[in-house]
């Protein structure tokens, strides 16, 4: 069970949160103009990395805000958290 530092509420137990999959996948602005393959790329394709992964989490049982988490999936260490719309940390 992680401790996640919600960018709004501070450090809380993982049980207050839900994971929302890979971060920085933007919904296409004009889906109708995409081919089946392009749409499928957006809809289905997700990375599953051993190592540094960018993820979305939501503080379901707290402020209900979505935010991003950088997590090393090999040891579950959270390297950074940042708000939606903010740029991912570079290092």
């Amino acid at each position: 069970m992680f401790i996640i530092n919600c960018p709004y509420c501070g450090e809380r137990e993982q049980s207050e949160f839900k994971a929302g999959g890979e971060a920085h996948i933007v919904r296409p602005k004009q889906p109708t103009e995409l081919s089946d393959d392009e749409w499928a790329e957006y809809l289905f394709m997700r990375k599953n990395i051993k190592g540094i992964q960018f993820e979305r989490w939501v503080h379901t049982h707290g402020c209900r805000k979505w935010f991003n988490v950088v997590r090393d999936t090999s040891n579950d260490k959270i390297k950074a958290v940042y708000k939606m719309g903010e740029k991912p940390p570079t290092k």
Binding site: Y8, S15, E16, H61, C63
Partner: protein, 187 residues
């Protein structure tokens, strides 16, 4: 005339803990992001909304709890009359906030049950079912948290030394109150 049937009819008292529902208490959720929203609330209610996370503010009549960066709960400090559900504060905010498109005002008076807890075993009870770290919270008057107690979402407001107000959604309240009593009976 409609009868008023609140959720929790018992008051429970243990050696170092008392618990009861306080009603009717007006509760509103207000939401907004703009600077004008905050100032309009301040002007309308003579109450500054807390902008620091996990805190609250208070005027004579109202208490405001921080819930998220664009969400607060306002509740009345005094007990109202159950014969009417027209609230002056709500009407005022509808006029000054909703109608002016500054934000949203939603009546949640019966969405939440307010359980008032008094005594020095409050946090011992919470520790039997909440993962939240109350070490700092318990010493900080006015602090607010939204967390889980017995797998149920709750909002906890540290009113005073050895006194908290706990808000839980009405449909969960009887289950939670029963669970709390079960726990309290062994503290």
């Amino acid at each position: 005339m409609l009868n008023y049937t609140n959720a929790i009819t018992e008051e429970k008292s243990y050696s170092s803990l008392q618990m009861k529902e306080i009603k009717p208490v007006m509760k509103l959720v207000i939401r907004g992001k703009k600077r004008e929203f905050l100032s309009a609330i301040g002007k309308s209610l003579n109450l500054l909304l807390p902008t620091e996370a996990n805190t609250s503010s208070r005027s004579d009549k109202l208490t405001a709890l921080w819930l998220s960066p664009d969400e607060w709960m306002i509740y009345s400090n005094e007990i109202l009359n159950s014969e009417s559900n027209e609230y002056e504060t709500e009407n005022l905010l509808n006029k000054n906030i909703s109608k002016t498109n500054l934000g949203a005002v939603t009546d949640v008076t019966d969405q939440f049950v307010l359980i008032n807890m008094k005594g020095d075993k409050i946090f011992d009870l919470f520790e039997t079912g909440s993962p939240f770290n109350f070490n700092d919270f318990r010493n900080k008057k006015g602090s607010v948290t939204q967390t889980i107690l017995a797998k149920i979402d709750v909002i906890i407001h540290n009113q005073n030394q050895n006194e908290v107000n706990l808000f839980v959604r009405r449909s969960f309240s009887q289950h939670l109150f029963s669970w709390m009593n079960d726990s309290a009976s062994r503290l």
